[in-house]
Assembly symmetry: C3
Homo-oligomer: 156 residues x 3
């Protein structure tokens, strides 16, 4: 079992700060991969059986292969339009469950950038992730995205 928080013999507050740093960097790199069209490398940030669930999708996408296919189709559609999307993750709230499992709640802002502009906010979502630490890195085991412009009154 991996013990990322205890391995270095840190005290708890130092470990919490380090975790915050790790998770912030994780999201920065993960979203850069997606935004840059590196779909396979992005999918590696999910566990092999990882699940991507979103209220904008008819049903959850399960497993890296299916995640790649869905992301590739979305990307191709945007490329055909000449539009880029950029994902900002913010307002991150980290809840350790065990030493190698976290619940992370965040907000995501998705910007849309057509050639020549103007830049618009395509959507705003909440993002509830279960992250697990394996092979020396954090990965998404389960992601629940809620597009708030599409949410039902009960979901909001």
């Amino acid at each position: 079992m991996t013990l990322p928080l205890e391995a270095a013999g840190q005290d708890r507050s130092s470990a919490a700060a380090h975790l915050h740093h790790q998770i912030q960097g994780f999201y920065a790199r993960q979203m850069r991969l997606l935004d840059g069209g590196e779909i396979e490398a992005w999918a590696e940030t999910f566990t092999p059986q990882g699940v991507f669930a979103a209220n904008a999708h008819p049903e959850p996408v399960a497993g890296r292969d299916a995640i790649v296919r869905a992301a590739r189709a979305a990307r191709d559609a945007l490329d055909a339009e000449g539009v880029r999307r950029r994902h900002w993750i913010g307002m991150i709230d980290i809840h350790p469950v065990t030493d190698d499992r976290l619940l992370v709640r965040s907000y995501a802002m998705v910007l849309e950038i057509p050639r020549g502009g103007p830049v618009t906010v395509h959507t705003h979502t909440t993002c509830d992730d279960t992250l697990v630490h394996e092979d020396g890195q954090w990965r998404v085991e389960h992601r629940q995205v809620l597009r708030e412009d599409l949410a039902t009154e009960a979901e909001r």
Copy 2:
């Protein structure tokens, strides 16, 4: 007297990193409460005599009860319109005053999300907070919000 920074015997740079982590999490949770309509829980993130001053208000709102009433009225008006607001705090700059008192300067972006979209940036503000550490947590003793679209030339 609470000594959140010294209690764990950390050195200064480790304490600064931990403080950064704490404050980032504080704002994430505080804004989630407000955005989620949990007005009473949100008001608990202010001290009992906490002050919320804003150039968009005719005068500062002082004390948790008054803060609850003002936030509730604002929320009810938005609910009536079917509009959600989401608050992003960013560009956080932390200035410790004592071990249990901080000045925190930040930017805030307020997004507006009507059912079906489109998402727009409702306003952009600066947010200058005095945070105090009491009962094991940080709370807002004084908040000064400046809506920059409404600011006078001298304020900007």
Copy 3:
């Protein structure tokens, strides 16, 4: 030679967390100076021979004096229009090169705030910085900004 990471005898993960805290604060203060029109103080956050390169400029601006002149001209033009810009840096990814040199990749969102509103997203850029630690602080030695709405297909 300055050894900001080793000086305090911290272990690596604590040093990484402290670095994250320092860099986040650096960008918050740097952008506040620019946004607040304190151009000379902002230029001090670059090294004396610092370079600001951007695809929106015909050629890189090199040296603090030239950086001040370019920023002042841009600011005067905005002042004449009565428009304010606010820079958000996010999705920060820090790559230490040596103890006193970092590569930092980030996203930047530039908001535009006319008197009376509405607030819009003026542009979205990537920002690739080389930061060096000198005289007890981090400074930009080289900045490469890519405005994504103006980027060529190859650049995107």
